[in-house]
Symmetry: C2
Subunit: 223 residues, 2 copies
DNA sequence: TGTCGCAATAAGTATATACATATTATCGCC
DNA sequence: GGCGATAATATGTATATACTTATTGCGACA
């Protein structure tokens, strides 16, 4: 078994996992043994197995060794685009219109995540070739982006470049357009819309945002 | 500047990026210089910068050096759940009902991704505490899962454990329930539903699946 | 002036070695 | 037999060194 390079080692390990040479729930040989068997350094095996562990194919613990999970949880990484870039990547011309920007009391549904003080509430419409593309409905912690105006620059774009995205959650769901939403997005009432909620925090809440896309929008990603 | 460990090196690099010490679009010192400055080995710097590059904070090219992207594209990793586990994690009892399993011609919309030969077409309903949870509409390459019956075991579950997820795409979108879909999922016609399309390929197509979730479903993930 | 090829460069990788650290396993003691 | 201290162990990390490779940029040549 001639292995050269950590990627080859990773591929061989993955082959064994899939071939059930290393059965689910079982423990695999330790790094030193694999290094000897494959004729590579232990650091190379380490890199290969660490990579597989990050992808969810293996579970590793100090002293406990490395095992194949009974139910592998596959992990997908996908890029969170800046909306403007997203539009440009489709070959369309981005547009932006600020709808409102004021201090407001946080709705009850968000109060447990954002606290109950007043927060800055920004709504804006993103356009592609002049037609509505995405509605941005954002709550901002007052101390973030203090004094920044979002007339021409979207909060989306400002935040991506200026804030640590150290922690947070992301959620996809579908909502039906009510009358005002339909009017804003220029679609039929009742249309099915993709919504993405994103919460960002870093020792306290930073921002909560819901992006509601025009009908037909697909958010795609490589696996 | 006392740096010990690759994580400290990564943190210091990230601090400089955020503090604009290393401005967007600019090139940062090369690994050897940083290693000397921080008093660590180049391999340690490499690990740190590689990590930041994987997260989207830096762009690295051989010979070209390392630079701070003008518009950082943040990357989120999230786990793709097995439906049954997803339901169990909510404290509900999973159920499964196979609706159809037959060879069929691929619809025109999928033909460019799957080819135009006949493929195995499996539809099934996942239940949570007896109520419809998710409709699975799957096209399978005939050579995959040959002879496997999906009466009691869902294709979703079988594939996660048995197939290389080496390549593929993932897309989220929203669709409105038509009459038959509404009946299957037990919801009102016109309801907004979250749909997830997933295509898996490994030197040729393996499977294409659309999961359509019951109204109100949110797919959540850490960032 | 343009372009082709070569040299310089910075990241990518491999290796042996050494030590750190989290866990597990074991042994002795009560 | 239970429990706690201790030893054993597999992975995690750091280091110096050496070589590889993609890419850039420069210089020679047409």
């Amino acid at each position: 078994m001639a292995i050269t390079g950590w990627q080859a080692a990773r591929d061989e390990a993955l082959r064994r996992i899939r071939a059930r040479d290393w059965p689910p729930g079982g423990r695999i040989p330790d790094e030193a043994d694999l290094a000897a068997e494959w004729g590579v350094a232990r650091a190379t095996v380490n890199r290969a197995l660490r990579d597989l562990a990050e992808a969810g194919y293996l579970e590793r613990r100090r002293k406990g060794g490395t095992r194949v999970p009974l139910t592998p949880v596959r992990k997908a990484t996908f890029a969170i685009p800046i909306i403007r870039q997203d539009i440009e990547a489709r070959g369309q011309t981005p547009g932006y219109r600020l709808l409102s920007d004021r201090s407001d009391t946080v709705p009850a549904a968000l109060r447990d995540r954002l606290g109950d003080g007043p927060m800055r509430h920004v709504t804006a419409l993103h356009l592609a070739d002049g037609t509505p593309y995405c509605l941005e409905d954002r709550w901002l912690s007052p101390r973030v982006a203090e004094g920044i105006r979002f007339d021409t620059l979207s909060a989306n774009e400002w935040l991506v470049g200026n804030v640590t995205f150290s922690e947070g959650t992301l959620a996809f769901h579908a909502i039906a357009a009510d009358a005002p939403l339909a009017q804003t997005l220029g679609c039929d009432p009742g249309a099915a819309l993709l919504a993405v909620d994103r919460e960002t925090r870093d020792q306290g809440p930073i921002t909560w945002v819901r992006l509601i896309y025009a009908p037909g929008y697909r958010m795609e990603t490589g696996l």
